[in-house]
Symmetry: C7
């Protein structure tokens, strides 16, 4: 199994071009396709939905989220 065990930042790299949900410290959530991510967890999302208090609050074609705001990133698909 050890071969498939990735460090957290490598795991996130493997999720590039996959659907993710990015939960921020302010409790808002951004769901979209993660085009890229770097070691600070700066994230590019395309076709992103913003969810506030569980409800869809906005749509964004392309956003770059600053990594220090990230609480966690949910990977929606098997890697």
């Amino acid at each position: 199994m050890s071969d498939s065990v990735k460090k957290p930042l490598n795991m996130l790299q493997k999720a590039v071009n996959k659907d993710v949900s990015v939960r921020l410290k302010n409790d808002q959530e951004y769901k979209g396709k993660m085009i890229n991510i770097d070691q600070y967890m700066n994230v590019i999302l395309v076709d992103a939905e913003e969810h506030s208090n569980g409800a869809l609050s906005a749509n964004y074609g392309k956003i770059v989220i600053r990594g220090n705001n990230v609480l966690f990133i949910k990977i929606e698909t098997d890697l």
Copy 2:
């Protein structure tokens, strides 16, 4: 496709001279033309509108936003 995939900071460099919206941690949003940006996400905006609670609250000819306040940057145009 890999050629066109940029790291987040490179993507932001590509958006220089384009229209962006910069959402800050205090929930205010600044929309304008991004003249430049550095690796801390310090951003120069010109002809910027400040939006607070969804309403236009001020206009600025030129502002430099300190990067550590940035929540995300929305890129308004295709790159």
Copy 3:
């Protein structure tokens, strides 16, 4: 005894593939199997339960928690 005494980050490495609870600064708790962790305490959890105010609030197949949000990590099993 000194042989079995690990530094905190080494102890966390030893807990990889074990069940843990990750308590965040916002008081939410994430319980699951810790697939990996790095020196910033960025954590990969699988089959994770989110607990808010003591009640189960969500389930996640796979999440990567950004380490700077971590309050403490409870190791559920003997190492």
Copy 4:
């Protein structure tokens, strides 16, 4: 055009001896002549007005603002 495009910190250097408004994270604003600024955005202002909730709240002959408090700096004049 590329010759006149400055990085954010260089742009701020170019604004030395010009009038600026420094908005802080606590929402107070300091307007005055920027005598100097460094790479942390530590700023020296002279003949500065403090504005709180839109009203003039104090005057300062010379203050040094610690950069980490800065939200943005508005450059009042063309550079």
Copy 5:
């Protein structure tokens, strides 16, 4: 006396395997045996009691507290 004067981090190292109370910034307190600690004040506690508002609120067999949450560490025994 100078021989017995330790720097704060060395003093904490000397308290390994002793009983301590770790007060966090959120005002919760964790009392237990400190198995190890590193230079960030990341702490391993075993047989730990969580105290909230002065009352026992939970017990933990083994937790690793992230150091940046620590307010102070009380050393319960003479060193």
Copy 6:
């Protein structure tokens, strides 16, 4: 004029042994003679007055303020 233009930290060094007011992020203000200051804006004040909500709240013979709490430092005298 360029000879007399100092970087912010150099300007603060020039104010050593002068009267200053140190405004902190928590809105308290400390007025006294600045005996020394370093590059983090750690400040030594002697014969210091603490002002809270505009009123004198305490006197201190000698205090060392940790720089990261500083909002701004007002230099009371011409340099």
Copy 7:
């Protein structure tokens, strides 16, 4: 006079084994004998009194305060 002028961290070193009051960002104050201090302002206090809202709230034989919580340190005696 220049010989007796110390940088803030050197001044704090000179106060080792003297009585100090350590005011934290959460407004609590810890008074005791400062056994040692390092460059992060991590402080060891012995025979320490905790004061909350001006009243004595606890006594501690020996505590190590994490430096990033410090607002200021009052030096009670002439150096």
